[in-house]
Symmetry: C2
Subunit: 476 residues, 2 copies
């Protein structure tokens, strides 16, 4: 039986100015987690959220996480844990979001003041954090308020976990989630995270997969200190030469990874999966626009999406220790560190992938016959994640999308990683759904970040509708 949503929907429309006002207040707090001087603003933003939640009748805890690692003079901002409803006859949905934002300054090239929500003639709501992730976080609060004012019973118990360090590596959160998996989060029947984006601008999506990321360093050293190339060029073996020649063997121009044992781990594509790609709304033109060029590896949509989502990729990020400033300097760097990473996919194993990388890089370096010293190691690793898109949690979200947007959602993966997704999955043992509110053009980490008014208001309806369908959906 389809849930009765009309009352809730019309209440959201009636309250839209009020909800935009709430977002305006949130955007006005410059809760930049990466900047030490803004730490009080991050804390202020956590308190703002806690106060709003309390006013809506939620039970709220501000969980302190202690000192920031490597910055012992700084307290981490609190995690806002909240519960709305405690009816044993209802399902319990755990939602996650973050209230901190990326750095932003007018001088970076913003067209408007980044911490003043500005609505332009196209109903784009410009401001830092509008789409990442204050809009979606407030979406849950707004859904609660609209139910209250419409007199509609809230369909589930809602557990909320809002952190203030997402843009700085979610410091401290993993331990908290692991500790609370069977305690504060024990009742959760499913998890929903609204912190990513539609694939394009017109069609909503549900996201069921993320790539992992193994980040490597190749360190080559020889001389005791940087040398003058006039004095030593032609007499010393140069670490930079060895590094460049080693890194050149990792991947080719078309992204083909040259390290044996990587592609062999990739799960073969199934017929079902192929079908999903055919239906997805995605234009190469949109990609070219996002890229700012036509320098794509593939010319067609399907191979491109597979390249982003379901195959590993290897990127060389740069070199530490060399001359990296503009101009000319005739230095022979004594120690250089090349950085590259591999985006991982099912069924790649982190340890096996590391072994393949270490073996290959060592072999390639050995071929050079150099007296210099080389070390290759993983700076950090993170597992890929794929959920079952046929789980009731996804079915509920899919029906909500159809109800709100009148279209079946695309089932997408993301090329990037959101490590906290796996943490929630493993700590709760429940299905995790990524349910985005904003679109691909929102510019989450860029200048002129925005959330379309339509995506915000319809997004509030979507989050609420999802909870209704989640309450009713049979276990699959």
């Amino acid at each position: 039986m389809a849930p009765q949503l009309d009352g809730f929907f019309s209440q959201v429309d009636s309250l839209s100015d009020h909800f935009i006002e709430r977002l305006r207040k949130a955007v006005a707090i410059p809760s930049i987690s990466a900047e030490e001087a803004r730490r009080p603003d991050v804390v202020r933003m956590g308190n703002f959220l806690a106060d709003e939640l309390k006013a809506l009748g939620a039970e709220v805890e501000l969980r302190e996480l202690g000192k920031q690692p490597h910055k012992e003079h700084l307290d981490l901002p609190p995690v806002v844990l909240a519960r709305y409803g405690n009816d044993k006859s209802k399902r319990t949905i755990l939602v996650y979001g973050h209230y901190d934002v990326q750095p932003a300054d007018l001088s970076d090239g913003w067209n408007t003041k980044p911490f003043e929500l500005t609505i332009d003639e196209k109903d784009r709501m410009l401001g830092r954090g509008s789409t990442d992730d204050k809009g979606p976080v407030l979406g849950w609060l707004n859904a609660i308020e609209a139910h209250q004012k419409a007199g509609v019973d809230f369909p589930v118990n809602l557990l909320m976990c809002f952190e203030g360090m997402e843009e700085y590596g979610s410091e401290g959160l993993e331990d908290l989630i692991n500790a609370e998996g069977k305690k504060y989060f024990a009742d959760a029947d499913a998890v929903c995270i609204s912190d990513n984006y539609w694939l394009g601008t017109e069609k909503p999506c549900l996201t069921y997969g993320l790539r992992g990321c193994n980040y490597y360093s190749i360190e080559v050293s020889g001389p005791g200190a940087d040398l003058h190339s006039g004095v030593f060029g032609g007499t010393a073996q140069e670490p930079m030469t060895d590094l460049v020649r080693t890194m050149a063997t990792l991947v080719d121009t078309n992204g083909k990874i040259q390290i044996p044992g990587i592609m062999e781990q990739v799960a073969p594509i199934t017929a079902d999966e192929e079908t999903l790609y055919d239906e997805i709304s995605f234009e190469m033109e949109t990609l070219h626009e996002a890229l700012g060029s036509k320098t794509t590896i593939f010319e067609d949509k399907k191979l491109t999406l597979m390249g982003r989502w379901r195959y590993p990729s290897l990127s060389i990020h740069g070199v530490e220790g060399g001359f990296s400033a503009p101009g000319a300097k005739t230095v022979i760097p004594a120690k250089v560190i090349g950085k590259f990473s591999i985006r991982t996919v099912p069924d790649m194993d982190i340890d096996k992938t590391n072994e393949c990388v270490y073996k290959y890089v060592n072999e390639q370096f050995a071929k050079l016959g150099s007296k210099n010293t080389m070390k290759v190691f993983a700076q950090h690793t993170g597992k890929w994640w794929v959920a079952s898109p046929s789980h009731w949690n996804f079915n509920a979200a899919s029906k909500a999308v159809e109800r709100v947007w009148n279209v079946k959602p695309d089932f997408t993966r993301e090329g990037g990683s959101i490590p906290i997704t796996i943490t929630f999955e493993e700590a709760t043992g429940k299905n995790v759904l990524l349910l985005p509110m904003g679109s691909s053009t929102d510019g989450a980490h860029s200048i002129n970040e925005k959330l379309d008014k339509r995506n915000y208001i319809e997004g509030i309806k979507l989050l609420g509708a999802y909870l209704h369908y989640a309450a009713e959906e049979p276990t699959s």
Copy 2:
């Protein structure tokens, strides 16, 4: 007939404390040309020199060079031009030096205050500029004073050119030398520059050659802005991959340049030249010590010296535009610029070398089949220099070394470049000699720069003796 030098020599010994005091005063002026805030100190140092020269009876001009290029709020420090003696029956020797110094700060790791001349238990005179180049510059002044006080007739007319921007690219000097080549410097019969170092610590040398330097950039660009490797990895061709693969084809681990047409330009070695190498005092152990490791290309002295002096070398200096900080960042850089340089030797031609580089790099990039855009260009070029070591100017210096140090000097080249050498040669049309005062361990651009007291005092005798032999040496 050997010149009578005993009176001059014993006067130098008698005045040694006074000469060290003069160096102490000079070192105390922090004339750092690279630091804007120190510009008044650079000017003060020029004035100090001018005053000392006037007190010795020299005619002195402070030549202003106008504003510093790209820093129009800054006046360049003046060039000190001076003449001591104007006797048409005597030869005229033009000497060059610089009165500015490299940056230095106690916090860099100095054991003593860098701008306080400190003499340690081994009679090393520590202080910024002691050896580079205040000691040698004052050497000429001290030689004049010792002649005066010993009542010995000064054997030549001395033209002096002391600049204050050597450590910052000798801004403005080239134009002045070219303009004065047939004017202020018109009388010069030969040129002597004391601004380099012995090959080791025990045996003096005369330097007759320098390598040139062509500095190149390879710029690869594609996307409109830096990309997130999670989102775009596997879908876009990456400039960094293309750059690394192109740079990897330039040179091998043993320094062998892979670009056709470079080695083909190198002058074949002659029997005479081979003999010079055999006699040179140079130990691989000293090189290992300077290098801080044993990662040399060659195991023997002769090939090593040839690698430094008479063959070209190619060094890769770094990458601009990539991620070059410590830690991990998953960026796909939109535009990266690889920097490398080729040290050039006789008979390499700058234009021909550029053509070979451009052709090869373009071919290598084309092989990648990339949609990215590549540009290769020379940032700056500079010619090699080789003088005739059998010129009377060198003969005079050689005899002076034998007289002062009781040993025949090594005839050396340098792997680096001193562009002003060629400028003097071309502007005056005269032979240029490099006559070093300090030794290889002086640490000219490093912390704890020093000049051994012995090298300073005997160096003053050497400069004076050289002038006497230069006055008498028959034209060769």
